[in-house]
Amino acid sequence: MTRRTIWTVLGVAGIVGFIAFGAGAFRSNLTPYVSFQQARATRDAVQVAGKLVQGSDSFDEPSARLLFTIKDDHGDAMRVAYKGLKPGNFNEAKQVVAIGRFQGGVLQAEKLLVKCPSKYQGLEEKEYRSSSS
């Protein structure tokens, strides 16, 4: 075998090994978008989305967690606990996406994504001034 062949073999082996490593990590860290039911059934990290139940959020001081309830389209409700700062636009949220594991009756969220109604809505109620002034 020439040196070049050795290089090629090593290179291909390295690339294949790396791809396998990456693919493995990818599969094991994928957080699938699931229904509430599926989220309750698994111990893996998942992603769920639902409507925020207005007024359901409270701050639990001893555990320093934000607790709230989200509801899916079928009316199924899920309690979510989030260890961290309440997202800035939380109370205006149309929909909340939570990523985490279901444990002890609540979804322990590591990450929250809050989706708000477009900030350009409600323009009609704004104050106007005449352009001539």
């Binding site: 860290n29 699938p32 001081e61 320093a64 800035g88 994504l113």
Partner: protein, 852 residues
């Protein structure tokens, strides 16, 4: 559409098209066309700069007819944030990107030489692709459905999170980096097209370095901004927006190394063509990911689908097809020299480093694109941050090792001092690493990463010192950059793997111990009504020194968005990071007694006898000032006599009353509830003396309430003075005492509303219970219910709820290494840009000389 701006963009567009056409003619042998092409390019540049100027003018003159100005600015923004408005939105940032691109093209025309026609054709097309987006989604369009002749009074304002000095300079630097990636791309295609496979690397290398320096700087500025303003304690969250600038940076870093390699060894041409095309395609792909809305469900950043997704996809397809199409077309013609290099040579290490950089880029790209990939098979899903940490850690270790070994290698083997120097650097790294382990560093992979990062730091540091000692300053640039990189990697490992954090709830004026620090919440600082609240937390450190941390938490008036900023205290070895989680203003103690006093009258509340001596005023309404009214009171408590004066302030936004403590009884305070200037009467709320609402009940007609042995029944409403048409909403509640001391007697507390001013409640004595009064609460005419409050001066009183503040305290060790490493990296990078730029100019000069 605001005409001057839109016109400037159209002029720029037509000029760019003209420039491209003239360059094509020039390429066909029509040499006079080249001058025209340059002129047209110049005109296009002027057009774009004018468009940017017009947008800036509209922002500064607060022209809220313009959608962009209305959406991202308001009247209250200070000047530097008005500048930042320019790139706060999608359209403005595309315009900024385009402007950088046009400006970068000016020196490009001058230095492209043999490549000029072809390079500029490609470069112009790349600019046109951005310009088309701006023409479709113009920053100059007016607000839609605006009533004719009307302009909004104020804009919606700039996102308060973006109102940060770092955020004003981050985007311009970022987009300079983005714009610069088009240069190597254009050169690569021109080189393939014109079959000149070598010189293009020389001409485009300074630009590739500019991308590496600016994009790297911008990425870390963004990280620094996140660290000091967002409060989640980190600088990097593997968010799609962050990743989408990291990936082009990794590709550009690989490209720079590939170019060095090609120039030194005369090989790896295909690699560099691929890298130059890839870097640009990745920028376009990143733009597609972050601006089309495809990742809207997966990123904390707000992505709005502007309806330009189609354009972005078309751009991506065009860049891919043009780039790799031309490369494949010439693939077999590109000269390749198979070589045989020893393993321990700079050549092989460079190849490995390029592979590692590309491997990292591929993994980050894979993770970021997860929602797009998984969409094909199932519902779109994303990967969590653990994925990125897991895949980048081993590659990072490999990269840092290469980084440490490479300074003492030649292109074809090891230098003489190779062993000695590496032993020295390794020894120093081991020493520093042992100190870290003694200080608490654990975990095999983390310690290994730390060791190799330190090794890279020391090895490159030694080499830099040698170069400087031999007065080869410019050659030191690369090594110096790697010194910074070693520092940064060490800082990243230590600060993220060994940080400690604890959450704590702080009551007002109470101290709590957290990780060796004593924290005391001292209250809210809001010096002016419009100032943003800062929470004052006194932090006593282990050595007894104290400082006041000022984390912020406020609600933005415009967007009603809750904004929280951490407080970061920087020390040599660690940062103390105090981040707000939740603030509860608490509830002041409810007034136990109310005194309604005329001048000279007095009354009793708990142990106090209080006399009202008159008002004192300051400020005047006519000057638009705040008026402060004080009530002079003489307070007797046993034998003690003292004068106090609680005040009430009238401001445009309402009244604020300041309570004063009453002497002799801790927690007792008096506060003005209302003043009647005409009749010189004052109403005082006295809290902390006991007393107050002892019982609350909602009664239907006929229902009963029992208090201290007396039974009271709700008999009926008294509507004898109820006439809403005459502005009289007076409702009495007739109550009968059925049992107890006042048996048989009636009481009628009432509600008086409908007139000017706030509704009044008229209390009634509880028959048979001296001092106890009855007050009406909520009346429900539909349900025919009345809420009733029994107010008893002997009730225990309501202590209120203390104000409290929850914070997350994090100790971040050695994070300063990251930022100082960045500065060193930048210094090295800039040295390299200068060096490569000069090399290129000299090369140009030597080429020109013989022909002249």
């Amino acid at each position: 559409m605001f005409l001057p701006g839109a016109l400037a963009l159209w002029v720029a567009f037509l000029s760019l098209v003209a420039s491209t056409v003239f360059y094509v003619r020039s390429l066909r042998g029509h040499t006079a066309s080249r001058a025209w092409a340059r002129q047209a390019y110049g005109l296009a540049t002027v057009g774009v700069v004018i468009a940017a100027g017009v947008l800036l003018y509209l922002i500064f003159t607060h022209d809220f007819r313009i959608h962009y100005v209305y959406s991202y600015s308001d009247l209250s923004l200070p000047r530097h944030y008005l500048f930042a408005t320019m790139w706060a939105g999608q359209e403005g940032s595309f315009l900024l990107w385009l402007m950088w691109g046009m400006l970068v093209g000016l020196p490009l025309i001058r230095y492209a030489r043999h490549y000029e026609d072809r390079t500029l054709i490609v470069y112009n097309l790349a600019q046109i692709s951005i310009l088309l987006i701006l023409l479709r989604q113009s920053p100059f369009r007016f607000l839609s459905d605006l009533p004719a002749g009307q302009v909004p009074f104020d804009g919606q304002g700039l996102n308060p999170l973006l109102q940060n000095p770092w955020m004003t300079i981050h985007p311009p630097i970022m987009f300079l980096g983005y714009a610069a990636t088009a240069v190597p791309f254009s050169f690569a295609i021109a080189a393939l097209w014109g079959r000149r496979y070598d010189e293009w690397t020389k001409a485009s290398m300074p630009w590739a370095l500019v991308t590496v320096v600016t994009l790297g700087c911008a990425i870390l500025l963004g990280g620094y901004w996140a660290y000091v303003t967002l409060g989640w304690g980190g600088y990097w969250g593997w968010d799609p927006v962050e990743n989408s600038s990291l990936v082009p940076w990794l590709a550009s870093a690989a490209l720079v190394h590939g170019m060095v390699l090609q120039r030194a060894r005369g090989r790896f041409r295909k690699l560099n063509f691929s890298l130059a095309i890839l870097a640009y395609v990745l920028v376009v792909y990143a733009t597609f990911l972050t601006r089309s809305g495809v990742l809207a469900d997966f990123s904390v950043h707000s992505f709005v689908d502007l309806g330009i997704t189609g354009w972005l996809v078309a751009n991506l397809a065009a860049a891919l097809a043009a780039g790799f199409g031309v490369l494949l077309w010439r693939w077999r013609e590109i000269p390749a020299q198979p070589g045989d290099e020893p393993l321990l040579s700079r050549t092989v290490l460079f190849v490995l480093a390029i592979a590692a950089l590309l491997g990292t880029a591929a993994m980050v790209l894979l993770g970021t694109s997860a929602p797009l990939i998984t969409r094909v098979f199932t519902k779109p899903s994303q990967v969590n941050a653990a994925f990125y940490n897991r895949v980048t850690l081993p590659i990072g270790i490999l990269l840092a090792t290469l980084l440490g070994v490479v300074p003492y290698l030649h292109w074809k083997g090891a230098t003489q001092e190779f062993r000695r120097r590496l032993l020295l650097a390794g020894g120093l790294a081991a020493l520093a690493g042992s100190i870290a382990v003694l200080a608490g560093a654990r975990g095999v992979l983390y310690v290994a990463f730390l060791l190799v990062a330190l090794f890279a730091f020391f090895s490159n540091g030694l080499k830099t010192v040698e170069e400087v000692r031999h007065r080869r300053f410019r050659a030191a640039g690369g090594y110096l950059a790697h010194v910074g990189l070693g520092l940064m990697l060490a800082g990243i490992v230590v600060s993220s793997a060994y940080d400690r954090s604890e959450k704590v709830v702080l009551n007002l004026n109470q101290s709590k111990q957290v990780m060796g620090y004593t924290l005391t919440f001292m209250g809210v600082d809001k010096p002016t009504p419009t100032a943003r609240e800062a929470m004052l937390v006194q932090v006593q450190e282990g050595d007894g020194k104290t400082y006041i941390a000022r984390p912020r938490m406020f609600r933005s008036e415009k967007s009603n968005q809750l904004v929280a900023n951490p407080d970061v205290r920087v020390h040599l070895t660690h940062d103390v990071y105090v981040s707000p989680i939740e603030f509860d203003p608490g509830r002041p103690p409810e007034a136990g007694a109310t005194l309604d006093l005329g001048k000279g009258e007095s009354g009793t509340a708990g142990p106090f006898s209080i006399a009202f001596d008159g008002f004192e005023m300051s400020g005047s309404h006519s000057a638009g000032e705040q008026i402060t009214i004080g009530a002079r009171l003489t307070v007797r408590h046993g034998a003690d006599v003292e004068e106090v004066s609680p005040t009430i302030k009238s401001t445009p936004s309402g009244f604020t009353a300041a309570p004063v403590p009453l002497p002799g009884s801790p927690g007792a305070a008096a506060q003005i509830a209302s003043v009647d200037a005409a009749s010189h009467r004052v109403r005082l709320s006295i809290s902390g003396v006991g007393g107050g609402v002892a019982k609350r009940a909602v009664l239907h007609k006929g229902e009963q309430l029992v208090y201290r042995g007396s039974t009271l029944a709700f008999d009926d409403f008294d509507l004898s003075d109820f006439d809403p048409q005459a502005g009289k909403i007076n409702i009495g509640v007739v109550l009968k005492v059925l049992d107890g001391a006042g048996k048989g007697r009636e009481a009628e507390p009432s509600f008086h509303g409908g007139g000017p001013g706030a509704p009044q409640y008229e209390d009634a004595e509880f028959p048979g219970l001296p001092g106890v009064t009855l007050r009406v609460g909520k009346l429900d005419p539909n349900e025919k219910t009345a809420e009733l409050q029994v107010i008893d001066p002997q009730a225990p009183g309501d202590p209120g709820e203390p104000m409290h503040f929850s914070v997350d305290v994090t100790i971040k060790p050695m994070i300063g290494l990251l930022w100082s490493g960045l500065v060193v990296l930048l210094a090295g990078g800039i040295l390299s840009v200068v060096r490569r730029g000069e090399e290129f100019s000299t090369a140009v000069a030597s080429q020109t000389a013989p022909s002249a």
